[in-house]
Amino acid sequence: MSEQPESYEAAVERLEQIIDRLDSGRAGLRETLDLCREGRELVVYCTAELDAVGEGLEELRLDELASKLESEAT
């Protein structure tokens, strides 16, 4: 990806702008292809963000979190 979006909201906002521009039919061929490429990258980013909180709810106690992070660090 050329540039990592600032946040999920920023990515979604940009994605909506891109779709609006494409739907308007005013974008030329080069712009359309560039927008499609950028849009696809944003969809990949957003999907990854959603996937990161979609693989199964994990419950930890605060002390467990600390020891888990310590064991990951070592």
Binding site: Y8, V12, L22, V43, L50, V53, L57, L62
Partner: protein
């Protein structure tokens, strides 16, 4: 030093006691701590976030109050009526100040609300309701910290709410008591510890409903100041719809139920977001394919343009050629007809002249003449490949001198005519000479 005295200390102590006893009798409200009974008296402190006062009540007066069993206990909110007093001490006991209570009652909802209101005004005046509300809340936190009781419906409801949101990240539990005098400091500590974990992007503080006294820990001034100044957004879900605690005012978001808290902690509905993303991906694919496809078709159509134009021109040209040929053949035919008509008239005239002589001999002579005439028909000659030179008036040019004189002639062939320029002294002549 010009100070009065020195006075005997015992007399001073009594004077101090008498002065204090003159002060107005009042009611104090606070949390009971350090409760201790002796045979004659009961000792405790009334305490709140700002300070404390040591209190005493005579055992017999306390008994007459007939408080419910166990009501006077550490952590309970009480209202004490009385005034300041000073015990001057004795040969066997130390002197000391106390608020001598003559009446004690459990703080009622009205007392607590009055305290809550005063505290609320104070924190609001200090601007402590705002900082949490200005914090950015991640739409999709990967880890959420939760402070609640280890057992209870709040925990279960919150998990159900998170699952309904389609969110399946990490929940970090920080269990704490949520109802006694240990609750507020324990909750404040849990919140601080969760906020220290960088992966925790939101903290939910949840507890089921109860009376204001039950929820009083969530009105604790120290706890509320901790929340107000925290760098991580806190979502409070304490009590039910009508319960309003001070933590609700300072938190980033106040929710009426743990289910609502789940929605506030994960502002993004993950299921809906997945659907939206699929829609966006399809729109992008359509736009990409459409842009190239439509333009390709247009290009192909443009590329066919010149070919079509050529074909059109070729058809038009062929048509013209056919028209010209037809017109030319018509002209030749007309001339041929005209000459035949002339020849016919001449033959008829000759026949008429011969009619008076011997008819058969003349008919023979006529047939011969006709054959001879046909042999001399210029058209027949032309059909054999000869050309007839004509001047501008269409008269035959029969010699070189006449041709030179005409300057320009038309050469009539069997299949049409062409113009020709006459060169007076042609090279051909010179070579012939």
């Amino acid at each position: 030093m010009d100070l009065p005295g020195p006075f005997p200390v015992g007399r001073y102590a009594r004077t101090l006691r008498d002065e204090l006893r003159k002060r107005a009798r009042v009611q104090l409200i606070g949390e009971v701590t350090g409760l201790r009974h002796t045979r004659k008296q009961t000792y405790f402190e009334l305490r709140d976030g700002d300070g404390a006062v040591p209190c005493t009540i005579w055992a017999n007066e306390l008994n007459e109050l007939a408080l419910p069993d166990g009501a006077l206990r550490d952590g309970a909110e009480f209202v004490a009526s009385g005034g300041p007093d000073y015990f001057v001490g004795s040969p066997t006991s130390s002197p000391g100040f106390s608020f001598r209570a003559t009446d004690l009652r459990l703080a009622g909802e009205g007392d607590l609300l009055a305290r809550l209101e005063a505290l609320r005004k104070q924190l609001q005046a200090e601007g402590l309701f705002e900082p949490q509300k200005r914090l950015r809340r991640a739409p999709l936190p990967k880890a959420i910290g939760v402070v609640t009781a280890e057992t209870g419906a709040a925990r279960r409801d919150l998990l159900a709410g998170l699952r309904r949101r389609g969110w399946a990240g990490t929940v970090v539990w920080a269990f704490a008591p949520v109802q006694d005098r240990r609750a507020a400091p324990a909750i404040a500590r849990a919140i601080r510890e969760l906020a220290e974990r960088p992966e925790v992007e939101a903290i939910v503080v949840a507890r089921g409903g109860g009376s204001l006294a039950d929820l009083w820990a969530f009105c604790d001034e120290t706890l509320c100041r901790t929340v107000a100044l925290l760098g991580v957004p806190v979502i409070s879900a304490v009590g039910h719809e009508r319960d309003s605690t001070l933590i609700d005012d300072v938190a980033a978001v106040a929710c009426s139920t743990p289910t609502h808290a789940a929605e506030a902690a994960v502002p993004l509905d993950c299921e809906a977001a997945r659907r939206d993303l699929r829609r966006c991906a399809s729109a992008l694919r359509r736009a990409g394919e459409g842009a190239v496809g439509a333009r390709s078709r247009h290009l192909v159509s443009l590329a066919r343009g010149p070919e079509r134009a050529l074909r059109r021109e070729r058809v038009a040209l062929n048509q013209k050629t056919r028209e010209i040929r037809a017109a030319s053949e018509r002209t030749v035919g007309e001339r041929r007809g005209f000459q035949r008509r002339i020849a016919g008239a001449v033959i008829a005239r000759a026949a008429r002249r011969a009619a008076g002589a011997e008819a058969s001999g003349r008919r023979d002579a006529l047939r011969r003449a006709d054959v001879a005439f046909r042999a001399h028909d210029p058209e027949r000659t032309l059909e054999r490949g000869y050309a007839l030179a004509e001047d501008g008036a269409g008269e035959p040019v029969t010699g070189a001198a006449a041709a030179i004189a005409a300057g320009r002639v038309r050469l009539r062939f069997a299949d049409g005519s062409v113009g020709a320029e006459i060169e007076p002294e042609g090279e051909g002549d010179e070579r012939a000479a």
